[in-house]
């Protein structure tokens, strides 16, 4: 035993690892993913596979370039999860190269340039999504009404390949604005909410996700189920989702109360677009969110506030990606200022007061 290296305590460990964490997140995403793929058919599946595969290839390539061991990092699940999340936020019938470019942006620029896992300041999937949105606004905003796999009008496997991989397919016939986009456009044209919403807004639709939107964002209910699973497994804590959705809901309720004709209510905001996915899966990204409970509350509240502001007053109909990136930038600052109180000390770091000493001096 004399050559045993020195190990510091503890000599036992919880059954946890990065890989386990990542795979559990993926597991939680599975219901929404499978449903999204079903809803939008073969072209969506093509896009999903291309995006995830590109992410893994980009990760392997970057790791080799950086001279790191490829195997432990490639299979830690983080690149897979990044590609997966990115795919879920893309328009389901987007061409294949959107997935490839997005994956490269996410993995190479969003993550590996910073030094790989754990080092990135911004959520890689959101970096890619925002870069794509700004660079390819047409492809990134072409949504369609769901055409579930095997349903009458759904494209066959071969047609799906054509949609994903060849040019010149005219999507105008099937395209349709997302709820957020539709409302934004209509409000911009001076219409009032009660008229705009009657035709499209229905909570049941938003929950089930049978509505135009990104590949995996449409079913608020399935995302919520996945999110609750993560909470239950303690992969994430409740602070960020609750603060984010709570702030969003409070803002929406307040302005809706002020002027119901121009500001939709909280339910509309919570269950549409990427709010649910953002709150449970994107803003909670471990690497880029604060580490303390109070910091997470502030971070989540900031995300919710920014989402509302961007949705309501900015040029884009959806703001989750922007909001998360902006708050990512504040994470180091939040972590610097919001620390837990150290045992036996006040918040400012000075020791609590002694009371029981009989005489001064001689203490330890």
């Amino acid at each position: 035993m004399s050559h045993t290296p020195l190990f510091s305590a503890p000599h036992a460990h919880q059954a946890t690892s990065i890989r386990r964490t990542m795979w559990l997140v993926i597991l939680a995403l599975l219901p929404a993913t499978v449903y999204g793929l079903y809803l939008f058919g073969w072209p969506a599946l093509n896009l999903f596979v291309v995006t995830v595969a590109s992410a893994l290839l980009a990760e392997a390539f970057s790791l080799r370039l950086a001279g790191k061991a490829v195997k432990p990092f490639l299979f830690d699940g983080s690149a897979l999860l990044t590609g997966w999340l990115l795919a879920l936020t893309l328009p389901p019938w987007a061409p294949w190269w959107i997935g490839v470019v997005g994956a490269l942006l996410a993995i190479v620029i969003g993550k590996q340039v910073f030094g790989g896992i754990g080092q990135n300041l911004f959520n890689p999937a959101m970096v890619a999504r925002v870069a794509l949105l700004i660079s390819f606004p047409l492809e990134m905003t072409t949504f369609l009404t769901p055409l579930p796999m095997f349903s009458a009008n759904a494209p066959s496997f071969v047609e799906g390949l054509a949609i994903s991989f060849s040019q010149g397919i005219n999507l105008d016939a099937v395209s349709s604005a997302s709820l957020l986009g539709h409302v934004k456009t209509e409000l911009g044209q001076g219409h009032l909410l009660p008229d705009v919403l009657t035709s499209v807004y229905d909570l049941k639709t938003l929950l089930s996700g049978n509505t135009p939107g990104s590949l995996g964002e449409t079913s608020a209910l399935l995302i919520l189920v996945g999110g609750l699973l993560l909470l239950f497994l303690r992969i994430i804590s409740w602070h960020i989702p609750l603060a984010m959705l709570g702030t969003l809901a409070m803002m929406a309720t307040f302005f809706h109360w002020l002027d119901p004709a121009h500001y939709p209510d909280a339910v509309y905001h919570l269950f549409s677009g990427a709010a649910m996915l953002g709150a449970f899966f994107i803003a909670t990204d471990l690497v880029t969110s604060p580490v303390t409970a109070r910091g997470q509350l502030l971070f989540g509240a900031g995300c919710g506030l920014l989402v509302y502001i961007i949705r309501t007053w900015a040029a884009y109909p959806e703001g989750v990606a922007f909001a998360v990136l902006l708050m990512n930038a504040t994470t180091p600052l939040i972590d610097h200022y919001l620390k837990p109180r150290i045992y036996g000390r006040r918040r400012d770091g000075s020791p609590l007061q002694h009371r029981n000493r009989l005489s001064e001096g001689g203490g330890t």
Partner: protein, 489 residues
Amino acid sequence: MKLFRIRGGVHPQEHKQLSAHKAIEVMPMPELLRIPLQQHIGSPAVPVVRKGDSVLKGQLLAHAQGMISAPVHAPTSGRIIAIGKHIAPHPSGLPVRTITLKADGNDRWIDLPGPVDPFTLDANEISERVAAAGIVGMGGASFPSAVKLNLGKRFSLHTLVINGAECEPYLTCDDRLMREHATEILDGVRIMMRALGVAHCLFAIESNKAQAHEAISKAAGNHNGIRTVKVPVRYPMGSEKHLVQTLTGEETPARALTADIGVVVHNVATAFAVHEAVRFHLPLISRVVTVSGGAIKHPRNLRVAVGTPVRELLAHCGGFREEPARLLSGGPMMGQPIINTGIPVVKGSNAVLALTAAETATHPAMPCIRCGSCVKACPCGLVPVEISARTRHGDLQGAADLGLMDCISCGSCAYVCPSHLPLVQYFNYAKGELTARQRAEHKQKETKRLAEQRAERIAREKKAKREAMMRRRQAARKRTKSEKAGANV
């Protein structure tokens, strides 16, 4: 009783069922005992015997030295065959001064004075007897107990807390002691209450030890002032300051003692030793050790003579079931690796564990993903993720500014880390390095101060010499003048 929540903590798998049902068994006396002169925090003891001396069981081998120290006694009768360096029960494996005793097999006691009624003794007499018996904190810290029993002189105390939490996984030595010796422990508790001058005692036992709780409650039944309390099972409940907070809701100020909030904490095994020492004059020469872990063939609780080599304990428990991945002295959360089974059991050893690879669940370290699990787990309100980042980059002052020195090395952060980072290793390194730097700085300052003093003294002496010379010259001049004047008369 109302309990208070502590921050953080973890729930490691307990594994206590391996040895909890095994009654304490007296381990046969080994042939050779290695008795280190330093088994406690403080100065090492000074030998009073010489090589070749014959000693009786319980005879003083080395006396305490200085304010914080403890004597050591012969665990059995026999002959001193060496006083020299022997490998220490410490992960460095560096040798410490050790007395080697060859047992003669008679196990003959020295003449002990007759039993006394401890309740006729005053506080000073009690702590003197505890000091003379060489009792140290037996929960693992090994701080001389008599010093802690004297705290009543410096602080106004109100409560004695007996720590029967035993929050480390696998450990069952305190559990068994409470089940089997409740009356003796409570006698020790009352003696300690008398020494401290407190009227209240809270006897804390984690709720996973129902039988121990029952035994202690029963034994304490007719004594008001002593209250047994079930505390929640959560590591590190046995940490002195956290246990006190759980019981009283009060937080010990940073860099202070629990005595600062009127509480003194002692371990159950210490209470037992105090009972034996004060009532029967028995020195601390043996203790209960849990030998357990998945790699041990027959896990047991053994009463072992201080100085018994670990190797003998392992052999007595049937050896290994399989080659252990880790061999430890103490629990899995804070224990030290054993690098040589020749090391002896000392007063603070509570367990010898042989863990299998499956039990340690070690993985290679991955980069930190800033998940914040460590922040949630830290019972001290620290941010281990930041402290470790600073330590890794050599910014030790930065680590200290974040509260490094308030870390109790409990290991909760490293236990939950999904990246399997050796966080405690970083912190221990940083603490050691910082202390060394402070010491070097202090030394430098002292050297400078002494050098300046010396220069000043030399200058002063020179000046004094010069002045003396001047005075002499003046006096001589005056004399010649007056002589001249006298001659003129």
